[in-house]
Point group: C2
Chain length 385, copies 2
């Protein structure tokens, strides 16, 4: 083992007092059991129930969005957000290559084609300069639409993803998107509790999407939400994800191909209890960042990933980024930490390198590949401290 890896291991052992640590562990210290018991007592466990309504209202209040619609998972929420925003088959949708595969899957499920953009080290999100220069170089405007010169397809939207909870540069991305007539749908799956210049993420585009998977800041078992200030988009999303049924006293009339993707009441019940505790969860995660920063401060070439300026990140997933000349140590660090029960993982393999997305349109992606070789995530749950 290299000396550098040994230093890292020593720092982690000291921080965790020799204990093993998982990457994520959900934290339940509130009304979860009480609300679940109430669901069973009331017999409201399915798509209709007071916790669904309460969770949607609480999400609006917490994020400052006008409307929230909850789903069985974040991928489905993003798929429906795209469809409700008007994304159609064969549209291209821009997204970072450096994201979890669900972002591209949701675009594919909506019938559209992922088109990859580079990320940058500063906030681990879409690089606004790379986005702007790629659009200038590779597209033309025709009838107000942004056309990919190579494929002749309409580029309709951009989906920034707030990596590990750190907000992407929304001001720049929104400006460029307006210039090129692109819709913005924020993949905020990792970012509940993250604010960009004081505004909760998901409020910048036409819609944002949250996830409540078991590994997220708060969980509903499995779940997701669309948050939006666009009332028409909200109505459309709710309608098509509830089998597109037209209200009628008894007849079953459905006016388009619909989906059945809503969040059940029992999952929303857990969500209500979790959201009540989010402030202390977020405080804990900021504290954990401080502890990591303190633990690694003497080790040259290792930097703990920090929120961008003017932002308040939820610090969903903690991580370090190693200097380029130490990138060769990534796998050794992963191996040695996991060997002693301190869970770690690299960032996702950039999507343009995965078999299903190899042939998708893509801008040059040097930074995505570089960042992939240098980022390591570390235990991030409330149980770590």
């Amino acid at each position: 083992m290299s000396l550098k890896t040994q230093y890292i291991l020593d720092a982690l052992h000291k921080l965790f007092k020799g204990n093993t640590k998982e990457l994520h562990k959900p934290f339940f210290a509130g009304n979860e059991k009480k609300y679940l018991e109430d669901c069973i007592n009331s017999s409201y466990v399915s798509y209709v129930g007071k916790y669904v309504q309460e969770f949607e209202q609480s999400l609006c209040k917490f994020t400052g969005c006008k409307r929230a619609i909850v789903f069985s998972n974040g991928t489905s929420a993003l798929q429906i957000a795209l469809i409700a925003a008007g994304i159609k088959a064969k549209h291209e949708v821009l997204l970072p290559s450096l994201t979890f595969v669900a972002t591209a899957n949701a675009i594919s499920h909506a019938g559209a084609i992922p088109h990859f953009i580079d990320s940058r080290e500063y906030d681990l999100g879409i690089d606004p300069d790379a986005l702007e220069s790629w659009l200038r170089y590779s597209t033309i405007k025709k009838n107000g639409e942004c056309i990919n010169k190579k494929t002749n397809r309409v580029i309709k939207a951009v989906v920034p993803m707030h990596t590990f909870g750190h907000p992407s540069s929304m001001e720049e991305i929104i400006k460029i998107s307006n210039d090129y007539n692109l819709l913005v749908i924020e993949d905020a799956a990792e970012a509940i509790g993250s604010f960009y210049k004081g505004v909760h993420v998901g409020n910048f585009g036409i819609a944002g999407v949250l996830s409540f998977n078991g590994n997220k800041t708060i969980t509903t078992g499995g779940g997701g939400a669309i948050i939006t200030n666009d009332l028409l988009l909200a109505d459309t999303a709710r309608h098509i994800s509830t089998t597109a049924k037209i209200p009628h006293q008894w007849e079953f009339i459905h006016d388009q191909v619909g989906y059945n993707l809503r969040m059940p009441n029992i999952n929303a019940a857990v969500g209500c209890a979790q959201l009540e505790q989010i402030k202390s969860i977020l405080e804990n995660k900021r504290l954990l960042f401080d502890k990591y920063e303190n633990a690694f401060k003497g080790i040259e070439g290792i930097k703990v990933i920090k929120e961008p300026s003017n932002c308040s990140s939820n610090y969903w997933l903690q991580g370090i980024i190693i200097d380029k000349n130490l990138a060769y140590l990534r796998d050794e660090i992963l191996e040695e930490t996991n060997k002693v029960g301190i869970s770690s993982r690299p960032i996702w393999r950039p999507l343009h390198l995965l078999k299903p997305y190899l042939n998708c349109p893509a801008a040059p992606l040097p930074q995505a590949k570089d960042l992939y070789s240098r980022i390591i995530n570390l235990p991030s749950g409330v149980d770590v401290l």
Copy 2:
């Protein structure tokens, strides 16, 4: 109000002792709360957890299938079953027009085109004679494939649906499907606990799909399952519904466009508790059928819907079928029963009459339209007795 409607109302009032009744109400008298509490205590609430495994194993045991994979809902389970069975974009898939819209939606989500077949009064499922004569008239065989002569597309599969839990005529449907090289995927969303000649439905085709929606015989809040005896299909379904991730110690490698549609552990926990009680639930539903039959026996022109011979139905949804010459009374009966708090509804509007499916290929559908005008569902939950 007509005299006939008055007789029906009187019979229902007498049966329910003047109480109001919902159409469906889930029944929780077992370990639901205990297992949910265990999930929260263990912190396993998401896609990994012992209840997911236990529920899948219990479903195998109960249905006699080799494998079960649980999903966030039945529509998604059917979509994945179709994809895993090899249904591709532009394939046509046969289904009854007289089914809930989810059957056609799942086929559409798989990229295929619904192709409607008539149903019959005997079992409310696909009419085998209509199926056979339509295939003989409208298709040709080319390279072993069944080709729709009019559209030139491959007809790849048939999806029988077991209406209200009553098994379709699987022996005849399987024979015809074999003759025409069609795969059979059973939509058994309504039919957990239903047996055709002693074998649980879902065992006749290459796969079957169950639903655990809140209105079903047993519920998980929202949920569904694929049951199958085809191990390759089971592996494929599990893989693509879990983001198609290749096992690796830490790398995120996905080998195809995947989905995130698995059932969370908290929903499976409710499912485990529910499945423990299914015998008594099924007994209660058979008893309710007897009571309805007894209640209506003096009323001419009204028949309580009964399981086909050689079958044991779960009697998920109870209903009556009125004689053709009384069809004009359907809406009056619906109105008067709902007015006094006895929930009732017609069968689904046949799908070929709905806007999204108006232009799909279809056989002649006289029986579907006729049955639609004469079937009324009545309160069916365990709470009714």
